[in-house]
Symmetry: C2
Subunit: 341 residues, 2 copies
C-alpha cells in the first residue's frame, strides 16, 4: 500500500535494484527485454522515483524558488498589484512544471538562514529594490539567481525585464501622434529602478524632440496599495492641472492613471478632449474607467517564462544573456484618442 520503492520493483522483477534504476533512467547497459519487463512492472506497481531521495543523491531538488517582494508579517498592504503577482506566479509555476521543475514561493526574508531551510536549486528574485535586504541573504546562498525586474545594484548578474525605454518612448510617440504638444510625466518618488529609468527615458525623448521635459515626482503614500497610489496621483495631478494645464499626462505607475482621471474630472477637464492620458503598465482597473485608459501590456507571463528558462539555463551551466528584454504591447484606448479630424 505504501509507495513502492526501487527495491519493491526489483523484488517483483527478480532483478537487483541497480538494474531497475538503470532500466528506468540509464542509457544502454540493460537488455531491451529486461528493460521492457521492468518498465511494465514499475508501471503496474505505480512506481515513481522519490524526489527527495533522488534530490539527496543528485544534489538537485528540481525546484526553483521565487522570492516575492512581500514583507514578512501579517499586514501586506505594500503590494501595488496582486494581479501582476497572480499572473507572474501562475505563469512561472507553469513554465517550471513544463521543464520538470517545481516552483517554491518564498516570502521576502532578510536572513540567509531562513532561506537555507527551503530546498531549491536556483532563485528568481521578483522586483529587487535598491538596498533590498533580500539581496544580501541571497548572495550568501551561493546558488544561481535571476532578477525578474531590474536590479540597479548589479548584485544579481542576470535580469529579465520589459524594455522600459521602449515602453516610455512608445507611449510618448503615441501621445504626440494624437496631437499632444506638452506632455507632463508623473512618476513615483521612490527608489525603484524602473521609475528612474522611465524618467530618464522621458527626458531623452523630450531632448530628441526639442521640447521641455516636465517630470513630476509624486510623493508615495504611507501604504502602497492601488487605492492610495491613485489618491497620491490625484493630489499631484490636481496641482499640475490647476494652473497652465498640459495637453497630455503620462502616468508612470500603477494606479496613477485612475488618480489623474479623477483629478481631471474634478477640474472639469474632459479626457481625452481636453487632456490625453496614458499609463505605462496595464491593469484591469484601466478597462472600466470612463473613458478606459491607454496603457502598455508588459506581459507578466512572458517575463515569468523568460526568467524561468534563463534560470534553468544557468543551472545547466550555460551562459545566457545577462539582460533580457521581454515583449510589450501598447493598448490604445479612448483616453488617448484625439477625436478631431
Amino acid at each position: 500500500m505504501a509507495k513502492p520503492t526501487l527495491r519493491d520493483v526489483a523484488t517483483v522483477a527478480g532483478v537487483s535494484v541497480g538494474t531497475v534504476s538503470y532500466a528506468l533512467n540509464g542509457k544502454g547497459r540493460v537488455d531491451p527485454d529486461t528493460r521492457e519487463r521492468i518498465r511494465r512492472i514499475a508501471a503496474e506497481l505505480g512506481y515513481s522515483a522519490d524526489p527527495v531521495a533522488r534530490g539527496l543523491r543528485s544534489g538537485r531538488t528540481a525546484t526553483l524558488g521565487m522570492a516575492l517582494g512581500t514583507v514578512v508579517g501579517q499586514r501586506r498592504d505594500d503590494i501595488l498589484s496582486f494581479e501582476w503577482y497572480g499572473r507572474v506566479t501562475t505563469a512561472a509555476a507553469q513554465a517550471a512544471f513544463e521543464a520538470e521543475h517545481g516552483l517554491l514561493l518564498v516570502p521576502a526574508v532578510h536572513d540567509a538562514g531562513q532561506l537555507r531551510r527551503m530546498a531549491f536549486d536556483g532563485l528568481i528574485v521578483v522586483e529587487p529594490g535598491e538596498g533590498d535586504p533580500r539581496l544580501a541573504a541571497i548572495a550568501g546562498l551561493g546558488i544561481p539567481a535571476v532578477a525578474l525586474g531590474r536590479d540597479s545594484t548589479g548584485r544579481i548578474a542576470h535580469q529579465v525585464a520589459p524594455d522600459t525605454d521602449a515602453v516610455v518612448a512608445g507611449l510618448l510617440d503615441h501621445l504626440a501622434a494624437q496631437g499632444a504638444t506638452r506632455i507632463v510625466a508623473l512618476a513615483p518618488d521612490m527608489p525603484w529602478e524602473w521609475a528612474e529609468r522611465s524618467i530618464i527615458a522621458y527626458r531623452r525623448w523630450c531632448a530628441t524632440r526639442g521640447v521641455q521635459p516636465d517630470a513630476v515626482r509624486v510623493p508615495p503614500p504611507a501604504q502602497l496599495s492601488a487605492c492610495t497610489m491613485s489618491e497620491s496621483a490625484r493630489t499631484a495631478a490636481l496641482a499640475v492641472l490647476r494652473d497652465d494645464p498640459p495637453d497630455a499626462i503620462l502616468a508612470l505607475c500603477l494606479g496613477f492613471g485612475v488618480g489623474v482621471l479623477a483629478a481631471a474630472r474634478e477640474l472639469g477637464l474632459r479626457v481625452p478632449h481636453d487632456l490625453l492620458l496614458a499609463q505605462d503598465s496595464d491593469e484591469p482597473a484601466l478597462h472600466t474607467t470612463d473613458p478606459p485608459i491607454t496603457a502598455v501590456d508588459l506581459f507578466p507571463e512572458s517575463q515569468a517564462r523568460t526568467a524561468v528558462t534563463t534560470l534553468l539555463e544557468l543551472l545547466r551551466g550555460a551562459h545566457p544573456a545577462s539582460e533580457l528584454n521581454t515583449p510589450t504591447e501598447l493598448r490604445a484606448r479612448a483616453s488617448s484618442q484625439q477625436r478631431h479630424g
Copy 2:
C-alpha cells in the same frame, strides 16, 4: 567553502555526528556545556541542516503544495481573477513560511504520476470544480488535502470557504434596506459550487421575504476572463433591463457588475438612481467604475491562511473541522446607495 554538514561540525567540535544532531535538535541527553559549544561552532561554520537529507530521513518535506486551477498549456485565459490568485498565493506562502514550511505551486494536472514528481506533505486544492480531473489524481496520492473553496463531490474531506449563504443574504438585505423591492440575480451558468449555492441562497431569501425570485443564468463565454464575463453579463443584463426592469440587480460573479453597469448606461438607466447594483465578490475594477460598485470582500488572505493552518493540523494528526467558513465584509459603495431621503 561548500555547505558544512553535520560531519564538519562534529570534526571541529571533536564529537560524533550523533551528538551534534542531538545538541542542535534533541531535547535533553546532551551536556549543556557541550551543547553550547556545538551550537557556537555550528553558528560559526554557518551550518544549517540540509532540508533534503532531513526530508529523506524523516519522510517529511516541510512543504505544502498548492494546486492551482490553471490548465496545463501555454494559453491560460481561463482564470477569472488573477488578483484573487495573487492574494491567495502570497498569503499562503507567507502563512506556510511562518509555520516553517514552504509552499510549492502546482499547476493543474490530471495525472497522479506528475504529482508524485513533486515533493510535498499535503495539498491545498484551489477551487475544485465538479468533475475536476485534479481530484482523481489527488486521491491516488494518499496525502492530506484541503480544498480552498467548496468541493461538491466530497472527495476532499476538509474545506475552507467563505459563507456563501451569508454573503448573498447580506447583500440582499442591504439592497432591500436601500429600497429595492424586486431584485434580479445574475449568476453564471456553470457547474461551480458557489454559483449553485448562491442561487439557492437567493431563492431562500426570496421565500423568506415572500417575493418572487428571478434568477437569470448567464451563458459563459468561450474564454473565461474578466472581460468576456463582463461582456456576457452585459448581454444578459440588456435583455433583463429592456422590458419591465427590476429596481436592483445582484451580480453573482466576478466581472458581472461591470457588465450590468454598461448595459444600464446603454439603456439610459442611471445607477443607483434607477437601478441598484451589487456584486458578490470584490475586485479592483469595481472601485474605478462610475459609480463604484458595492461588493463583498471575501478576504482571500484569510481563506489562504485558514487552509494552510488546517492542512498543517491534518499533518500533525489533529482532526480540524471539515468545513471552515472564512470572514467576509460588505463594502457598500455608491452603486447601491439610494439617495432619496
